[in-house]
Symmetry: D4
Subunit: 248 residues, 8 copies
């Protein structure tokens, strides 16, 4: 029952002011004891809450999944294991799982995908993070194009896709190792670039810290950086930007 | 003389094809020996080139400044010393200097400021970086509102400005020390937040690295981070985002 | 047999001075070959010794557990595995184990819990550390209230609990990722805040170092920090502070 | 206007449902309005605001100083230069400056100092930070005893002062280099120890980071750590703790 | 062929100037020929070669073990797994294994242990490293006394053993976590202290780096540091020092 | 379509100015079209593509392997597991696997090995990385000599091999722990030294970062460094250098 | 007096064998009390010794400069201040100074420059380091071409110079900030690339460490890295490689 | 008052049980009373106190200097500025200053120097730290030989001094940059090597941290490390070791 419904009932005398207050006080978040689902979030941000599955106990996962499904009619869970998927699957037959991105979801059908977000990766090993970004953006309603394995060690691969890249409202650049792709893209477009360092690499890559530093120190303009392997965060922010480019 | 003008002259037979080729070949960058001004940039990105004054010799600064003024009719220089300003001032009387942001500029009059970018700081010591961001965004045509000194140690100060913050197309959150303000704002808005760590602090702040890490690890969504003290970069990207929210 | 008892017996002539010296000489610590139990600690600090179970061999654990049980009539063991619990359980039927905090204990009944310590977490993943803190404080006689999952990305969740938080003698703020919650709480209360960074997070969280740096650099007053995941240490110090607020 | 009032007006048709929704959307935060919280904070904490002078412009410093003097009748400024003192001195003859701690203040006479805080340093070079802590605590009404130059390389110096140290409500342990003193004190007392790493040292001390790590990893209980050289923060928190030990 | 010989041959015309140049070009190094230096080293150091077993293949381990046994009649292997022991045991019945230190050895009987090395640990978890140090020193002929679990959080335990510690030619101080014990011992003795940081700890101990930094920054004199967990290196150097105190 | 053609068409009215601008905007990049550059690269470098097997799925590995085999008639795969080898082996009987270097390959027979590359290691544990380097260089046609276990703790071992080392066109120095061997070799030869830090070591070696720093800070000339454990990269670059020494 | 001369005199009986030994013993280095000039170096490496002027006292600098001038008839000094130049200039009128690279030198006339080394920079601020590299390579006899200010944020600038870059025997890539240029060049050439990170940048560039990490983690082949700002080292190694490409 | 006396008084009723408890609580420490330990230390160590002049105020310096002169008849001050020397000189005409080591001292005449300590440096820039070590050791009565500028980039310089190095009781190896000299010396001698990293270097030397890591990770035995630039600490410990080799 949303705010509007409550107010309507108050107006119509269907519920007392005290009852309404009761609802509204609880409304900003749903107390589950161990967790406080931020159900007020959609009002504030226009984005439904999403489940970070990694490390959740089976009970917690099932309860939160169920609650969100009930509220939104669809659910997105990131960093899910195959076991967690099977757990969910048993109760919710319509749940789908993508092995690459490790995303589990139930999605409303016929959702419209608008605008354009382009997701680029430097190598093939960066694809899992890129897919988390791409599928998140798609879940939130963005139209996404993928351009994978176009790292700077063969710059012509990237250049040959320039027209697609330049047509996006927002570009997500995903790279591990030295992470140079974000700077090159940043120099070629007039739209914001969200750089996602990945933990791909070895030795002095320090699990992605080197790529993060490369991206933060980029000499190109219009680049900002999210946490290592944070595909979800990039997909979320890209959607915020993409919506601005579409809305009016 | 822009690409359009050249093509027009070719069409009209005002210049020969050879002369036109001559122009176009030089167009992607202006070779100055020690530097290659990226004059093609405006075509690619819609943003004129800007001067990072710090460490430039007097000769270089004057020449680059003059060249850009000639091309664009206005110039923005960041991280300028008062001495550099006096040098420029002597030749270009219309140059203005802002001590806080250390920006030197000649700006076309009557420029329209559109959309809305909000720049927040945690403390007063973060204002120089914030002003670099705000004035950069304004130079590039964004309408900017400033909300300074609303750090998380007195959260009510920030909350009392929520309506303004929530009305922006993009929020720039500037903070040193522990840099927590970006997360709090991120949790309250539905637009992208560009987080700018500053070198404000002492001890374990490690000249801004602590704030950078805080912001990169933010538990809120819709936040991406630029380099420490990089107000210019934040203002640039905020304008890219703001234009998306305005253009159509 | 405590110091007081020995002296009483000396006074009453129940034991000889030589026998008493014998006891007292051994009192500052109990030599176990591989370990020196600090039995003098309770005199100095008012806190009985506690077992850090992690990595202890079965023999050592059993012996130390037994010794402390003999001396104090109750025992607290932290970071215990389920296997260690089963080992203890076999000999001491009254031992209890909590899976979340990984605490094993035998506790005297009817212990009075005084004053108030509030334990807050930013997320649900921080709860194991928070429970180690809370149960440690309770074992040492503090009354504890838990407020979990109130991180800064949804600041209203924290604000809705302000009255409880403000009523404590000491607040323990537990958070991983960016760890901003400690600063926000520090700005809202007049009592000391003990900040506990956790290893929750990924990428640039560097197993809790980022949260530790955030907390150490807090712009709020009245905050001090313990080691990453050190719930026990926070519960101990909170009890020291809580006792000051209760004692007189 | 509270929730109840809004609902009443909806019920009575005084405002539309849309207007009511407008109000309710911001309510989780707006009930924390600026003025209200501010007053509440003043009443609650009993700590007047303090000036961090470092880097303040002359104008800002004078204005803030004047404002606080007007409100509280006394002022404390930390990290002040001798020049800043002379600036203040010119207008406020009663201002005093302490070269060691770099504190500038005007203090009400006859202030009562209660409880006991002990401030220890490892070496003589740590005294400036210790004095910032001690004078801050005194300004806030704590009785302070100083025990300086009792580092662990001559442990007998510390042990000879044990009775004083054990009589405090809170101990502040200030040390650079290897910072081991906090652990030794922590093992000898039953009250909380606030550890302050200092930037004293050279080479691998990394301006205090080594001492910070030592203190955070302390094997003793009842120790928490503040930022490097943060004497003010330690004096503030020690006063919070000391007040608990005194108040009732 | 030495320089003198070459020159003589040149003088006598036995070799050409070109040939002589050939010889002389390599002479600064070649006079350090393999066999010669090797013999020299054996005579000089009196330390037989030792096997670092970790990561050795079965074949390599068996061959090296056999070779050394043949030459020296005894062998010491460090960081050996139980499996490696069983492998050796099968061929060399007299091999012994110590689970705590993970040392495997065949030792000549009736070896004299001279001088005195004292090995101290802060906690019980440091004992494996300490035993590697102690048994290495014993294998090389040092008399060793062990004083374990005397960390600074209960300083009386260490002080009660002062007479033993002060009677050594060299003290090895083994500690993880904050590693403060080395400084305290350094301040109490007139002999060199070899500090061994261990990887014992969690969180900000960073696998021993914090303890290493503490020890390197020690404010006490006469302390030098070896690598984290390097018990063998400490036992080796302690023996070098101990021999100096015994030999004459 | 070149610039000249476009201008001609503009002049002739065959295309509009707008269309021409469209072309020109992308021209600085599009002349680097995919196919052209690619062919150019093959002809130019003479290095066939190589497979980094680590983390590849079975399908991907098999497909890429097959494709390259088809094109080049031989394939080199690095960082392959034994399972990956068995997978390949099943389809390509002629595939060979080397357990030490973890290289899987099919190599044309009778390949000529020219010039000379010397690969040195400090210890035996560095050999896997050294073999990756050596076999890569051999696969690319370099003649390679191996000099293993000549670390600086027994400098005579290295010196006794000086003539071989000094006869190479390029020396690869492979070392973990303190990595000093690169500097010593650098001081003894007149050819470039490629230093490869390895993750061999423990404690403060930080998985090779210490060796990397040693090598980067070398006081000898003619040394450059590749990533930790990057034997492949060293073998590749050594071949580039070796070819220069051979070609003419 | 070289080795050949000495041997000739021995053969001719002009000097005794003892005198000859005296010479030869001293020959590998010239003992100057405070320094040991490595005059044997030229035999070993084919490169004369060079002076690192930074921090040398006036006396030391003059003496070493004089000695090397005497031996080689030319001298190269790096990192020289203008004052050091004036000091040298007074005694050696023919000394030249370059303000940008801070190189002081006396160079033999008519020196032949062979082969080709290309030195690229990402920005204009990297030029001082690039010039140190270029002028060092020239001093050692390499023909050098400079391509400055071709960083990846405007990739077309670099691509327009591809033919020159591809014609070199060795490329030196000089860059601060994110240092991505090395990877891009590495992907475009078949010759070795020496990457020189510079301390150009601010904030998270950490004085060049970020660029160093980028370059070490390069996904392109044929790249190795020297120390931050080490133009001299890059010029030296590039000459070694260039000589290989020329010599035969 | 010993334990026996206390118990006797309890038995006799001369003191209450409470009073007795009071005594006993402090007893484990109080037997280490100030005066007793102090005297004991003086007798034991034979090392007079030394002044670390850096940062001392003029007053403090003069007073401490005077006090120590009075007690010992000689004084050693390290890290003294020339101004501090002039201050001392005015009052104590016999004070001497060494610009290189920055040591100020008054030394008794005819002091005997015994045993042998050898101090080696890698370069000339390490000499100031080496001289602090050498002169400290000499002041404490060690005979010292200096071997400077024998770094590993010209290993023959070091090898030519092997006989002197091998004749010492203890070797101090001083080096910045990559610090490899300690490992090479460690492999050539049978006596302990104290490694002193220096802050000499630039870029990735990180003010000596790289050298420290090299030395701590040394693959040679018998090496331990002191803080960066800590010549004094090395000279002190070397004297402790040297005395062991001399005393009997």
């Amino acid at each position: 029952m949303g705010t509007h419904d409550i107010l309507l009932k108050v107006k119509n005398g269907d519920i007392s002011i005290d009852e309404a207050e009761q609802y509204l006080r609880r409304q900003p978040f749903e107390e589950m004891g161990y967790a406080k689902l931020d159900t007020h979030r959609k009002i504030r941000s226009g984005f439904p809450e999403v489940i970070f599955c990694s490390g959740k106990t089976d009970d917690h996962l099932l309860n939160i999944f169920g609650k969100l499904y009930e509220i939104d009619g669809e659910v997105l869970g990131t960093r899910a294991t195959i076991n967690q998927y099977e757990l969910i699957k048993e109760r919710y037959k319509e749940a789908k799982y993508d092995k690459v991105s490790r995303i589990i979801k139930i999605e409303k059908e016929g959702k419209k995908k608008v605008g354009k977000v382009v997701v680029c990766t430097a190598g093939t090993a960066d694809i899992p993070v890129a897919e988390e970004a791409a599928q998140t953006a798609e879940y939130f309603g963005s139209y996404v194009e993928r351009i994978y394995d176009v790292g700077v060690s063969g710059i012509h691969r990237l250049l040959s896709k320039l027209d697609v890249i330049q047509s996006a409202n927002c570009i997500i650049a995903v790279a591990g190792m030295e992470g140079a792709i974000a700077s090159v893209i940043g120099g070629l477009v007039d739209k914001p670039v969200i750089a996602v360092p990945t933990s791909v690499g070895y030795g002095a890559s320090m699990n992605g810290l080197a790529a993060l530093l490369t991206m933060i120190n980029s000499c190109a303009n219009g680049i900002a950086v999210v946490n290592i392997d944070n595909g979800y965060g990039a997909g979320y922010m890209a959607t915020q930007i993409n919506r601005l480019g579409v809305k009016q």
